[in-house]
């Protein structure tokens, strides 16, 4: 099972060649090379979070880029009270939620293709061949149903599911990003999973 890495780690998984704090300080002074390094470190996660929230590649592309631009402009207000990544995440999440509120009821999906590994993921293969009553279901159909169900959730509930069950963030990290307490995160996660389970019951029940 693929698990997302802890928040403070590099996207590539390698140890950071330059300390994040140093890069932030240089970027704050207007050093675009340093900021480019920061963007490269976190681009995949920020993009993925926004994409899973919107289920639309084009929107995710715009929002992710705008989040990085906004973060650069607001770097001077970054006090260092949280990690740069948490702060950046917060900007992206807020921007995405605002976008979704504006686009309410006018959301359309533009899904990315599944990568090659999906067909070989044992969990997913089991869903298609063994555990799904609708045996004609394929991965693309599952993908569409899953995204449709996610879009039915409220932004806050969807965000918790995306951050925890897709991105692999801990409850504590999610609470920091969403600026709420851990109990709220847990209750939202529980409710969101219940909703998803009900909507996707045809694809989850064993035969």
């Amino acid at each position: 099972m693929i698990m997302a890495e802890p928040v403070a780690r590099n996207d590539s998984g390698a140890s950071a060649p330059v300390d994040e704090e140093v890069l932030v300080k240089r970027a704050r002074g207007g050093d675009l090379e340093a900021y480019d390094e920061l963007v490269q470190r976190y681009q995949q996660r920020i993009y993925a979070t926004v994409y899973h929230m919107t289920s639309n590649h084009e929107d995710a592309n715009d929002l992710a880029q705008e989040s990085f631009i906004k973060a650069f402009q607001a770097l001077k207000s970054f006090k260092g009270g949280s990690s740069f990544y948490t702060w950046l995440y917060r900007i992206a999440v807020n921007k995405t939620i605002n976008f979704l509120k504006q686009r309410k009821n006018r959301i359309h999906m533009s899904l990315n293709d599944l990568d090659f590994n999906a067909e070989h993921d044992p969990d997913l293969v089991a869903f298609v061949s063994d555990k799904t009553p609708r045996r004609e279901a394929n991965l693309n159909e599952l993908q569409e149903k899953l995204n449709t169900a996610l879009l039915k959730l409220s932004e806050q509930h969807r965000l918790v599911v995306v951050l925890h069950d897709v991105q692999g963030l801990s409850h504590e990290e999610i609470a920091k990003v969403m600026e709420c307490n851990i109990g709220t995160v847990r209750s939202r996660l529980f409710y969101a999973r219940q909703q998803l389970q009900a909507w996707l019951s045809d694809y989850l029940k064993p035969t």
Partner: protein, 166 residues
């Protein structure tokens, strides 16, 4: 206890499918470059320069703008108020003509008594009755058409009682 707790394991495994949704190959090769290019091009630089300072000095303004973006009811109310203001302005802009006509027409009747009570030495002297039409609406013509002999020649303090209607 466990029997009462819903088992979300199947759901969590299904959600793993989301991690296999990836953007087109090579997408991230240019991502950071695009971000830096947009920053350099100042696409939002001017906005950050001016509005950034503006919002920093007036946080309530930022909240207000964000409310416009996120709350359709608020935005609709604001737009309605703006339209009402424009309509009011348009109505007011048309009114001066009618007001001016209303002022001009009764002017001869109202001005005459004012003039009669005035001491017109300084007013009469520059007026040449030869050049003033009798049917003119200019209040001076009524005054100037008065017999010269009835006009006082000494300078006195002039007072103009103004009616409340004007």
């Amino acid at each position: 206890m466990n029997e009462n707790q819903p088992n979300f394991e199947s759901l969590r495994r299904l959600l793993a499918l989301k991690r296999h949704e990836t953007p087109p190959p090579g997408y991230f090769n240019n991502f950071s470059r695009q971000v830096i290019t947009r920053i350099c091009a100042g696409e939002t630089g001017a906005e950050a320069g001016f509005s950034g300072r503006l919002f920093a000095s007036m946080p309530w303004l930022l909240q207000w703008v964000q409310s416009l973006e996120t709350k359709p009811v608020f935005a609709g109310g604001f737009a309605t108020a703006l339209c009402a203001l424009l309509l009011f302005g348009a109505v007011i802009a048309q009114r001066p003509d009618s007001v001016a006509q209303a002022i001009l027409q009764p002017a001869p009747q109202e001005v005459a008594p004012l003039v009669a009570s005035a001491t017109p030495t300084t007013m009469v002297q520059p007026v040449n009755p030869m050049f003033i039409e009798d049917n003119s609406t200019n209040p001076v013509s009524n005054f100037a058409s008065a017999p010269i002999g009835q006009m006082p020649v000494s300078a006195q303090f002039a007072s103009f009682p103004i009616s409340s209607g004007n």
